[in-house]
Symmetry: C2
Subunit: 315 residues, 2 copies
């Protein structure tokens, strides 16, 4: 609460263009972006953060759009971060079906941004954590983090937001049933979307049963039905999310989760930082020679890693 | 080719039970497993490795079972590694619908194993690379690595196998279309499974069009149709995979890819090794005190990571 000691200009709201530039800087690991975030970080922590994940075809993006409209109706400003799996080969991000959000593009209280990592220290998880700081300190009430596509960032969302929505849809096949046990563990709220389709009730009861198997929690995970295309069920979802936020605030669980997120975030950045420093200190050719020996199957990969590490500890 | 210098017993085939124990040791990061792999690594490189990925509901597991039967009919021995996304909270692995493979369980030429990472240095990617060494040096002709579930390991499979199959199915929704651009980049062969369903031809042509957009490659990625439940199309898939293997061997592309995989693998292990060493060297409480300062929003996460790193470089 020492805001009076902050530079007077530290918390000036950024223009939409400045914010967009900051987000690009975050993706690229730009030092200027890091400087801005360092200044703003102490003022963060006001926004609610909501993660949303689920299998392709579950209708996540449509649900996010409906949530944004509902939150706007409640006078909340909303930022949406869509996490794009980066291609390992081109570094290119997938746009996804963002078109549904375009209807909201004229609203100054909404900011939608796809994020990928193109060199950010700590990868996309750190980039998203930084983007949350940017939105949070720029006055957005709610930040929604949506995983896009095949869900390779599925688990990560639990490490960057305070609440997690898992979206399911009826009739997604038995493989989806199989993954529920894992994905459901990160759920604070489950939404069975496309609830006007056959099998929605069964999907919901299957999920409820799966949740029962888990250990008892102080927060009972609600399984809600929704039809994102019509907005049906979205108000109840927003109510339950508000309840979850209240639960986190009052139970101490929110603080506990925040400390875990901080630990995950710092170690994630540190891991990458240590690697970059070490590689920077290596004599030229040493890495490539060692890698060539591994490629010739003369040195086992863990031994190569150990040799590089021991090298770096010599004076 | 210096096999004569290897200890005479280094390449004794492991019994099924020894192999299972080695794989468990790999998952757990057991030093004994590392010693065995270190000895065996120089003898690796004989097995063909095939990754298979795709969205939930595409029928990956059924296709893998059909591929195993087809490979057995061709007198190949086959190991299947099913990569299970680990829960971040319990460390538990998801079993998935492995039951389809049970029909093959009596066949000594088939070994099916779910893998998760429970402490392996470098996470599940390193564990899978190690499991490949184990199978490869135990006489398996083909190792198939299947990502299970929501596909969070989707991209990783490109870093551990020489060929990658991407499985699609008709009518998986527009979100699936959106991800194709990214997932297709890692594909050497695309299979439209459930090709007896409506829309299969359209799905195949959409994918073929998406592949056209990409840069020209020496290897033209085939888009095949299959019905895994009946085995239809599986023979052609195996033929094309054999062609791809030949292409990799003769074009130099296989060596190029192998070197990239080695680099990825070694750096992945090194990153984790550096972090573990650093955390082990820290004075007690320093990490927790710094993390507490980050949680209080007094220190920006990257600055905390930098402070820890600089601490470790002091004499």
């Amino acid at each position: 609460m020492s805001e009076s000691q902050a530079p007077a200009d530290a918390m000036l709201p950024l223009t939409k263009r400045e914010l967009a530039r900051l987000l690009t800087g975050i993706e690229n690991g730009a030092p200027a972006a890091q400087r801005i975030l360092r200044e703003r970080y102490r003022h963060s922590g006001k926004a609610r953060t909501i993660g949303i994940t689920g299998a392709p075809g579950s209708g996540k993006s449509t649900l996010v759009a409906a949530m944004v409209q509902g939150l706007r109706a409640r006078q909340h400003t909303v930022a949406v971060i869509a996490v794009d799996p980066s291609s390992p080969f081109t570094g290119g991000a997938i746009l996804g079906d963002r078109f549904r959000m375009n209807a909201l593009a004229g609203d100054a209280g909404v900011f939608v941004r796809s994020m990928a990592s193109r060199g950010a220290l700590g990868g996309v998880a750190a980039a998203v954590a930084d983007a949350i700081i940017a939105f949070d300190t720029n006055g957005f009430d709610v930040v929604i983090v949506e995983t896009v596509g095949a869900g390779q960032n599925e688990i990560d969302v639990a490490w960057v937001t305070e609440s997690v929505i898992v979206v399911e849809a009826p009739g997604m096949g038995d493989e989806v049933q199989a993954i529920k046990a894992g994905i459901l563990e990160i759920a604070d709220v489950v939404v069975v979307n496309k609830a006007d389709r056959d099998g929605a009730a069964q999907t919901a009861s299957t999920i409820a049963a799966a949740l029962e198997i888990g250990r008892k929690r102080a927060w009972e995970v609600p399984v809600l039905k929704a039809v994102a295309t019509t907005g049906s069920g979205v108000d109840e979802l927003l109510d339950r999310l508000a309840e979850h936020h209240h639960y986190l605030q009052t139970s101490g669980k929110g603080q506990w989760r925040w400390e875990h997120r901080v630990q995950h975030d710092v170690l994630n950045r540190l891991r990458e930082m240590l690697l970059r420093r070490m590689l920077g200190q290596l004599p030229p050719d040493q890495l490539s020679q060692l890698l060539a020996a591994v490629a010739r199957r003369e040195v086992y990969p863990t031994d190569a890693a150990a040799e590089l590490m021991n090298q770096s500890s010599k004076p």
